[in-house]
Symmetry: C4
Subunit: 443 residues, 4 copies
């Protein structure tokens, strides 16, 4: 209810608040300066404590480089200044070798598939190989842009409000590491289960020795052309492991970048949350607006850089969910197979859903400040606040898949609806005629 | 047509209007103060007359607690201050017992379903049990948050324009009670019809005594494991009643909360409607804006708290409508069965539609003020009005299902279209092969 | 390109323009006054020349009343003041008799359909009768509101810019009359073709005399219960004619109201078009804004009144297009049948499409002023212009089907896509088993 | 972070910047004047260097005229002033002759199709002929409007910021020529492949001589009526070539116009990009806004003129992609056929996708300035900037298909989703019963 009589007290209170506001601004600037000095020193310390995205994601990039992806130099460097990309490093050569190997594998897979009929299921290895091949190329391209992107990211980070505590500073790194380790362990577990279910519970053994039989099944595309030999089998298995890692890494990378971008927005929102109900000076809002703008520009740049990877991630996930649901109507040859199959299906759906939720979180975090701006008191609703509110409501910030679709939570239902429709129609093709086949243990 | 000559009279009229406006503001404030005093006294009187959402929904919550849902203390208290949640109250234990019992039932149902083939229909008891289990857990979680939510709700109510009359004050309570009693009686009627159609018009009797046969069919998941015994049959029937109530209560609760939220918006809009065409002072618009904002923030908070329940409500309704439509192509074994079946189908569709309409009303009520703001005369179109208009047009206020979908009237056609598509495809699976089976009388 | 040097001339030109503007305003007001005087006189003259919607639609309403729809009194009155609705007029009784007759027919149709199997095609007469029954009830309800709606409409018309010429004044009436006569003649032609194709090219004659056989087929729902008698046959045929007219009239009415509403918006836009590039005074913009607002409020009110009819119109059109497309895969028994069938299908699709285009034109006309506002010169971009622009861009003005869907051009593709999907799936039900049946000549 | 102490320097810097701004404006105007003078002289020089859309598209229009499309005079004229349309030119007569020939062909095709059953595949020649017939009529109509459109286009071009270099000036022409030559060569290659695969690898030879047999197959709709004769065969082949060119030209024309429109927006954005971070005077923003507005109005006008062609382009592409995917499940009679078929399918999908991407680029380019406006410094955020930002965020600029759908990147997924759904359902019609038929080599 509005109070007519209290205008005087109100004016006095406002002046006090504005004084508080100015004092607060000074304190914030002091913090900022201190933070910069501190950040400079921290480069020599444990890089986890830096609080930067570069430091947080570096262990994951190291793992990726072991599997031939993202051949950028200096991922373990203390600051993003250490990053660089050269064509002649061993990392690039390793990555090119990896891409070459997958290309060959893809050619064999196409050859193998062409000798069966072309349908939703026989096309599986081609889609699997093809999507990872495309993604690897995209990662190579991304490695080229990575140093610039990280420099821009660090610049954005530097101008954000300083962390309040050590705990807050480590939050990003801890979140990235826990998500990465959970996803990678689950994918490892899924892969081991696939091996166990194939080796110990062979259904239609292709060779006498179960291990040989497994290797034969895994590299069927090679042995369709060449006679069986152990070393080729192990090579095929190695490639299969690299591919499986690459397949999981696509989703993981997309998730981690989204976590990083959401974190930037959260930091800005957190500061806004504390100050939004006080009448702040115009300069504060200019600061908030330019900071918000710089984050959004970073998001657009990251989107340009990774939306190809995002497109593959979503596309292949939808394809494989459709395929696995289709397979689910088959009889399972043994309990072990059933356990593996449903674990694999749950993992696939869970991973796809978490990609969608983490990526769409960027969109939601980018909308949060708008809700806070509505709480600005009338005396503090200056032209800069209005401009920020207008820009926020007209913007549609989100990561996208080659800009063909924006990733928001709404996308989930649309995709689920399509999957159900396709599934219902596909099941009518009498897919049950094809019984459980031994070559399906690829992922 | 604009009138050039009348500017003088207009200015005079404006001044008069502004004086009227100020007088009005004073009167409103006086009312407001009176209202608060009055609200304080009313706590000792009949709580129906309080006009608060807490008082209006309390009888429904008492019924829910009889069935083990929403174990919050003090639902019959005079004000929301009496609400609290403790882990050690008998309500919580009763609720946990209820959840435990459903979990066991769900396990038996899964076991039972796995021994038939897995398809759209055999999965029914699992979906039925599972969705109620999840909802019960959500209600337990909600009970924890309920006191805080009701305190916030009461705070929002206290600052809204006072009721004009006793009739208006009772409107909310009467609406909630009538909706609750209609829905609960219909669900009771549907349940009794299901018993009658099963007991007196047995199709494929499983046991000689019709009552025993009915109990056998209702608790088929138990008797698949244990031999038949009367007490287990009655226990199964009791669980079945609890589940059926829980299933209906999910929808009812969602409807009642939506009615409450719509009511808040309506109260604000009603006041606006009377004053919008006069040039009101800036303070009035600040008041309207902050009140509107507080309601919207309450809606967002309620959405966070109940969107899980909303998701289950919509999901299970869509599934059961698909399933019942699919069953409708079967031959009915008797007229009694046909009557029950079509009553049940109509009840299901009617309930789902009313959930959608009541929940989407929140979205529509939240848009209403925007239409009114367009009627503000140019002389009264101050910066606060503009700010409110901007905020209203950029907001998208609505309840949601875990934010995967916003509930608006548009959703209805999308859902109906999907149901028709799925139905057409599903019917092609020759579901008619399965004749009317005796175990389907679960809900 | 901006011109630095010409600021002086510009200022002078601006002053001239503003003087022009004021002179223009005076002229417009004079016209307005003259127009009112003139409108008063015109009530005694040919009502076509009035230019009002009431006068334009009156002949169509007279025809509707012959067929028992819209029982409102005074549709031929010179002004909308002559309209009234009373329950005890012969029009109302005639309308109730009509509704009663359709209800009986619907009951017989349900009875007839229940003795065949329930599927997409046997349900046709029920949908046909049911939708017209609902629409008739809606028209009865609308008749009650019609006088108020027309008074509001006339008030809106009175304050719009005057017509420039006699030709412009007659435009609305001419448009309404030509659309009505084209649609009604086509529907008459379609009905006659249906009779000819049935009578002269009997496929499976039910009785010896071709006329008797035709009557027997048309009123099959009666003769399923009663033995054949000529008078019952003719009564059935009479009902059939009434129903067919009602079915066409639903669409026609929706089109005519949309034409009327679009016309209001066009009149405002036309004036705006001439003046938008000059710097007009604030009052002009207040006038435009309030006029636009009054039209939009009228559209919302009309939508509340007719959106039930709109819903039936769209729903039944989609159903019948699906059904006719489904029938199109049958063999035609003769060329005459083929001619009738494809004419009927083309008429149905054409009518549905024109409903959609005419109704969605309201949405498009309501967006037009926004495009014009972008042309306002900077010197004339006053706060009222900005407010109008803001309101226009946040509004979403359109007619709707019970607010479940807004009718815009985009709807067309969505509906067409759904029809194609349903059609493809439906055709798979082997509908061709059912050969062309003699009872299908109902519409 | 905002800096409290530096306000003085800032003000000084601002003044400097504004002086720079003014100096810049003068320079820009000088350039502009120079450019106009220069443009006048350029009419006598190589028209490629003019940088105008008229000059850039003229060679493509000349080719189109060879095939009877777009009968407008003066396409090779130095400026757009040379364009005119008269009904009595030989171009118009040639075009009418072309339309007449296609109409006859279409009639024969309908006759031919009616003697087979009507389904998705036999309807192909009708759709092919019909869509080109409609498009030809649209091109004739467009030729009538072309001179006016090009005059407006030239007026818009004249007021845009001048080109910075010769390279930039030639960019549009080079882009248009390269896209046109790539698409036309690919379509030529596809047509030749179709001839080769038909002539040298005849499957079911209709006549002894392979060429005669090919001609027979190509003009099957004629030889269904008339006996075989060589000249009629060659006439049919000629028509077939004309049709195939027309079919490809529809897409090409839509792409080229989109490139032209995107180019206009890019020129404006490029200038904005350089100046947006400086505080520019109000006049600059008025200039930008009116220039942007004139481009948008041109886009709306072009959309009115070509949206019919756009609709045919999208509709026929969706139909033919569905059809070719459906054919892809057939066995190929020879490797040559397989090569042709997959090349043809890839060409079709690639062409359709590039139409979508080029056309949707107009929408994206029209959004770009909004992103730049967010970078305007607070001191330069004048009311004109705000107005431009508001207009940009409320506008929805894009080309459309008869306004039934707006062409944006989002459309792509919707269309792809529909194609997959239709495809899955269509395949179930056992289309494989129909083996590869010799008449399908039409395009």
């Amino acid at each position: 209810m509005w109070h007519v009589q209290i205008s005087k007290q109100r004016r006095r209170r406002q002046q006090q608040l504005q004084q508080h506001g100015r004092a607060l601004l000074k304190r914030l600037e002091r913090h900022q300066r201190q933070r910069r000095r501190w950040a400079w020193q921290a480069t020599n310390m444990n890089d986890l404590h830096d609080g930067s995205f570069h430091a947080a994601i570096s262990p994951v990039l190291v793992i990726a480089q072991c599997f031939g992806l993202m051949p950028v130099r200096g991922v373990r460097a203390a600051t993003e200044r250490g990053l660089c990309f050269t064509r002649c490093s061993w990392r690039t050569w390793y990555s090119l070798l990896y891409i070459g190997a997958i290309s060959f594998d893809a050619l064999f897979a196409i050859n193998f598939a062409l000798h069966g009929g072309l349908d939703m299921r026989s096309v599986e290895p081609i889609v699997f190989n093809g999507s990872i091949l495309w993604a690897s190329y995209q990662f190579l391209h991304l490695a080229h842009q990575w140093p610039q992107l990280m420099w821009r990211w660090a610049r954005v980070e530097k101008h954000l409000p300083p962390y309040a505590s050590w705990k807050e500073r480590e939050q990003l790194a801890r979140r990235i590491h826990s998500v990465a380790s959970i996803l990678l362990s689950l994918s490892l577990m899924e892969h081991l289960l696939s091996i166990i279910s194939s080796v110990y519970h062979e259904v239609c053994p292709l060779r006498q020795d179960p291990v040989e039989s497994y290797l034969y099944a895994v590299s069927a595309q090679f042995f369709h052309v060449f006679p069986y030999s152990n070393w080729l089998g192990w090579l095929g298995k190695l490639l299969n492991v690299l591919l499986t890692f690459g397949w999981n890494y696509i989703d993981l990378f997309v998730i981690l970048v989204s976590i990083g971008l959401s974190h930037l927005l959260t930091r800005l929102t957190r500061q806004l949350q504390q100050l939004v109900e006080r009448p702040m000076p115009e300069k504060f809002w200019t600061y908030v607006r330019t900071r918000y703008r710089s984050i959004v520009e970073l998001i657009y740049d990251m989107d340009d850089a990774i939306s190809g990877i995002m497109f593959i991630s979503f596309g292949s996930n939808v394809y494989f969910i459709c395929l696995q649901l289709l397979k689910s109507i088959n009889e399972m040859p043994s309990t072990m197979h059933a356990v593996y199959f449903y674990f694999s299906l749950a993992f696939l759906i869970g991973r796809s859903l978490s990609v969608l939720l983490f990526v769409s979180a960027v969109h939601e975090r980018a909308r949060d400040p708008l809700r806070l701006l509505h709480l600005v008191p009338p005396s503090g609703y200056l032209s800069e606040v209005q401009r920020l509110a207008n820009e926020l409501s007209s913007d549609n910030v989100s990561l996208s898949g080659l800009r063909f679709f924006n990733v928001t939570r709404k996308l989930c239902l649309a995709v689920a609806g399509s999957i159900v429709t396709y599934e219902l129609v596909l099941i009518q093709f009498h897919e049950d005629e094809k019984s459980w086949d031994c070559q399906a243990g690829k992922q």
